[in-house]
């Protein structure tokens, strides 16, 4: 058990190193760097750019040095907790990201809870009442949820929220609380704004989840052990909860690994439409302007979360499923 854990953690190290190299190369692939982007922008606005000043800046940021030197500079910085400097925001990366990560986390965590709370009862109902009117109706609704473009739904809900509840358009809170310290009212305002993005981002996830849960559960319901449980005299609902539902959970636990990075970075498009102060739009901006340390450090953070998430879901799977814990290839 302990050796397994140690091995898993050790494997993470080369994985992360490989990811960091690939990330860095991909960010550097487009011609030029942040300064060329900046110069182009200034020139297009008719401003003159002093070449000597640019050279000075380039030397200051180390952009004139070969790529591998830049990589080592960045990578060693990462190890010491220095995520580099954002050219665009003129701030250390940690300060740029810090604020947004919290709100992003709140938003996406709420979304996941929303998905689970809505999808589980519906999925279970659909599976246990297969081909009933309710199943067809919910399936239909689910497909609508899958097919509706998120941004469209976002605009409609924003409009409705505004005329019905007087919620201000866009953002995660009323503009007057921006840059204010946290207070009870500010929290209320966040909650008031939260539901629109949660519903918008959640619908497609919910629909997908319902379909998957229904399919998994339908497979399990056919199994003999369900009949065994009922033959013992167990109430059908209790039997459902204890046996087939538990069996059909594995894919969802395995999914936690993907969910963790999504909690931080997901839903960029919706966030831009709703002008939410989350990390998604920031990452896109940083990639566009070749703000390499911001983009690189953020992508590394996501990679770390993915690796840790996978580790957690593997552990959870082993804890919850004795076949994985004890099986270990005994089949012949």
């Amino acid at each position: 058990m302990l050796t397994y854990l140690a091995r898993r953690i050790l494997i993470m190290v080369p994985t992360l190193i490989a990811i960091s190299i690939i990330t860095f190369i991909i960010i550097q692939l487009p011609p030029g760097d942040y300064l060329t982007t900046m110069i182009n922008e200034m020139q297009s606005q008719g401003e003159n750019v002093d070449q000597s000043k640019i050279d000075a800046l380039r030397a200051q940021y180390g952009l004139d040095r070969p790529m591998y030197v830049q990589y080592f500079h960045w990578a060693t910085g990462l190890l010491q907790g220095d995520y580099g400097y954002s050219f665009e925001y003129q701030l250390p990366v940690a300060d740029v990201v810090g604020d947004r990560v919290f709100l992003t986390f709140v938003l996406n965590f709420a979304t996941i809870i929303f998905i689970w709370v809505v999808a589980f009862p519906i999925g279970i109902y659909s599976a246990t009442n297969q081909y009933s009117l309710g199943d067809y109706g919910l399936t239909f609704l689910g497909f609508i949820g899958l097919a509706t473009p998120n941004f469209l739904l976002a605009l409609i809900l924003l409009y409705l929220a505004n005329i019905w509840f007087g919620t201000s358009i866009g953002g995660m809170m009323d503009p007057k609380y921006l840059d204010q310290p946290w207070s009870g009212e500010k929290v209320m305002s966040v909650l008031e704004h939260l539901w629109v993005p949660v519903v918008v981002i959640g619908t497609s996830g919910t629909a997908a989840m319902i379909r998957r849960l229904r399919a998994n559960l339908l497979d399990e319901l056919q199994k003999q052990y369900v009949v065994t449980a009922r033959a013992k005299g167990l109430h059908p609902f209790k039997a459902l909860m204890k046996y087939p539902l538990r069996m059909s959970l594995n894919p969802f636990i395995a999914d936690i690994g993907n969910m963790l990075p999504q909690v931080i970075s997901g839903s960029a498009v919706v966030a831009m439409v709703l002008s939410l102060p989350t990390t998604g739009p920031m990452l896109i901006g940083a990639l566009q302007s070749q703000d390499m340390y911001l983009a690189g450090s953020f992508l590394m953070f996501l990679a770390l979360l993915t690796v840790i998430g996978m580790f957690i879901s593997d552990l959870l799977l082993a804890v919850l499923d004795p076949r994985i814990r004890l099986g270990g290839g005994t089949n012949r």
Binding site: Q224, T228, G233, P322, G328, T330
Partner: protein, 632 residues
């Protein structure tokens, strides 16, 4: 116990209908029978006869599409004297039904692997049944569960409580299942094919266990089975079902001594028995006619005199070892298992060599090794016919492909061995296409001849496998294996997935084909009666070793090896004159090589070899010790 006059369970004019898209199907039609307290009633029939539907109706576990149309199921609960409940009128999931289910009537199934949840411990699942019906404290429940596990023969019940079903062998799983069904001391146990998925030796143990427990707990058993051998050994009364109706019912003596209904007579004639006359044929319920056409008839070169003493297939010292990783968390706790250990035998041209053994004994590994699907660690396989000798294990590339025309394979499962997306024509002609034999016209003619050969209508060539029954599919599989005109077939459990009546049909077909086409068979089976019917010589395998090899009569008359003896003792014979000797049914030690008595023991120190006892009878034993024993 109740007096014998009120039966425990009375089923009267039961009708169960299924709502299908094409209309209603009456799966059970006017079925009546009764089960007296403490007795065993066997419900016998082929698959599709509706016997399982009857059990589901009694348990209130019918699928949602099925409805009880008519009739009653009267259950006289001997705990509440004098009350009679009509199960047919109870709500399926209502409280009253749930109390009967698991409390007074319990159920065990055929497939012990899938009928327990793999995510919960055995103890948890057994206790659950107890806690649903008895008001017991957690501690009491724990103790009662442990007692029950001890009663069904778990060597270490306290540990068994914490094991998961997948950690147990098939036999132990079925024991766990039985303890779960019996923990509430039901007055009726419904056993739905309880031993069909088990090996004969394990089957005998489980049957003995059920008999012992029945005597101890005084419960009645409704046993659903297609195996007349099990019926002859277990039942007091027998009910024979066919297509949803009761054909005949009565006591075991009446039915076995003097069957009245033609269906029952036919069923009895279709089961292979040990004491069959030489040359006696099984009589399948639906006989098929096999015809050879001009393409398949043996050619002159086939008829050329063959040296019948020169083996067509020679297997020498074949060994194959599998490494198994075991233990928690992928820790490298490796153990080696010999699937084949020094296996040698010869198959003579034109004969049928039967290979018998329980699951996991290595018989399938052996067949796969001969077919070159697995590579052995050591040993040699030589094939020889008029065209010369072939070192099978040394073949590669084109020569291996050419060799496949001489040796073909018939699979066990007629369902998964045919591609559901190919028509029968494509399936049967595929070997010809792969080997580039003949043109379109030849293939068309060959395929329709093959279909006639296995007794199928050549007009059905454009159909897909799903429109054929299990027996018909198996015949399609046989036709496919004969398309290349091989000289030898390896049949791996070709009839074990089929009903008795279909089994007889396919066995007869194989026998006829052998004669018509001059074929040689290596026939693998776990069923001794089947092997007895078809084979000329029989080889017995256990734990990767060939333990005994003898001509058929010799093996049955004079078995020498303890494992062969145990195997022969464990087979239930479908007649009343030869009952199973439950007393001599051992625990599972008879299949552990290190537990065999002295001259046969296989362990670190002793490595017995095959010894010739004369008349083609070989046994694996320590030579010096055996001669002493036989002399004395």
């Amino acid at each position: 116990m109740n007096d014998q006059l009120t039966p425990l369970l009375r089923v009267r004019d039961l009708q169960v209908g299924f709502d299908l898209p094409g209309g209603e199907l009456l799966a059970v039609n006017k079925v009546s029978f009764q089960v007296r307290a403490g007795t065993t009633v066997a419900l016998v029939g082929e698959s599709g006869s509706g016997k399982s539907v009857v059990s589901q109706a009694i348990m209130g576990l019918l699928p949602p599409t099925a409805q009880i149309r008519n009739g009653s199921i009267l259950f006289a609960d001997d705990r509440k004297k004098g009350t009679i409940t009509d199960i047919a009128r109870l709500h399926r999931d209502g409280k009253a039904m749930r109390q009967i289910r698991g409390g007074q009537i319990s159920l065990i199934f055929q497939e012990p692997m899938t009928s327990l949840s793999p995510l919960h411990t055995v103890g948890n699942q057994i206790r659950e049944a107890l806690e649903l019906h008895r008001n017991v404290s957690g501690r009491e429940a724990q103790e009662l569960t442990e007692d029950m596990l001890r009663m069904v023969g778990f060597p270490d019940p306290a540990r068994a409580l914490r094991t998961y079903p997948f950690e147990l062998s098939g036999g132990l799983r079925q024991r766990a299942m039985i303890s779960m069904a019996l923990i509430c001391r039901p007055s009726l146990l419904i056993a739905d094919e309880p031993t069909t998925a088990l090996d004969v030796t394990i089957q005998a143990q489980i049957l003995k266990l059920m008999k012992d427990l029945q005597a101890e707990l005084g419960m009645a058993v409704l046993m659903i089975t297609h195996d007349l051998g099990v019926v002859a050994n277990m039942a007091d009364d027998v009910v024979v079902m066919y297509r949803g109706r009761v054909m005949e019912s009565g006591t075991r003596e009446q039915l076995f001594r003097d069957p009245q209904h033609p269906y029952l007579k036919a069923l009895m004639a279709a089961v292979p028995r040990f004491n069959m006359e030489p040359g006696e044929r099984l009589v399948p319920i639906r006989e098929i006619k096999s015809e050879t056409g001009h393409l398949l008839a043996p050619t002159e070169s086939d008829k050329a005199p063959v040296d019948s003493k020169k083996p067509i297939l020679k297997v020498e010292n074949l060994s194959k070892c599998f490494t198994i990783r075991q233990g928690a968390w992928l820790s490298s706790d490796e153990s080696k298992v010999y699937a084949l250990d020094d296996v040698s035998f010869e198959v003579l041209p034109g004969e049928c060599l039967g290979l018998v053994g329980e699951s996991g004994c290595g018989k399938t590994t052996l067949s796969k090794t001969i077919m070159r699907a697995l590579t052995p660690d050591q040993g040699a396989v030589t094939y020889a016919d008029q065209d010369g000798e072939i070192d099978v294990l040394g073949l590669d590339g084109d020569r291996l492909t050419d060799f496949r025309q001489k040796l073909q394979f018939v699979f066990q499962d007629p369902f998964s061995s045919l591609n559901p997306r190919m028509t029968v024509f494509d399936i049967v002609s595929e070997p010809l296409v792969i080997h580039g034999i003949g043109d379109d016209a030849y293939r068309r003619e060959m395929v329709s001849e093959l279909m006639k050969l296995v007794g199928l209508d050549a007009r059905h060539l454009n159909r897909y496998p799903h429109s054929f029954s299990g027996g018909q599919r198996q015949r399609i599989g046989i036709a496919r294996s004969l398309a290349l005109k091989p000289r030898m077939l390896i049949c791996d459990e070709p009839v074990s997935a089929l009903d008795v009546s279909i089994q007889a049909q396919v066995l007869n077909l194989l026998k006829d084909l052998q004669e018509q086409l001059n074929l040689t068979y290596l026939f693998i089976s776990h069923n001794l009666a089947v092997v007895d019917y078809i084979a000329d010589r029989i080889a017995v395998m256990c734990a990767g070793r060939l333990v005994e090899l003898a001509p058929r009569e010799e093996l049955f008359r004079n078995p020498v090896h303890p494992y062969t003896k145990a195997l022969l003792r464990a087979v239930p014979d479908p007649s009343l004159d030869n009952p199973l000797d439950f007393e001599s049914v051992m625990d599972s030690r008879c299949s552990i090589p290190s537990e065999w008595p002295a001259p046969f023991t296989v362990s670190e120190e002793t490595h017995p070899r095959l010894i010739d006892l004369g008349d083609g009878h070989f046994v694996r034993a320590d030579e010096s010790a055996l001669t002493l024993r036989l002399a004395s």
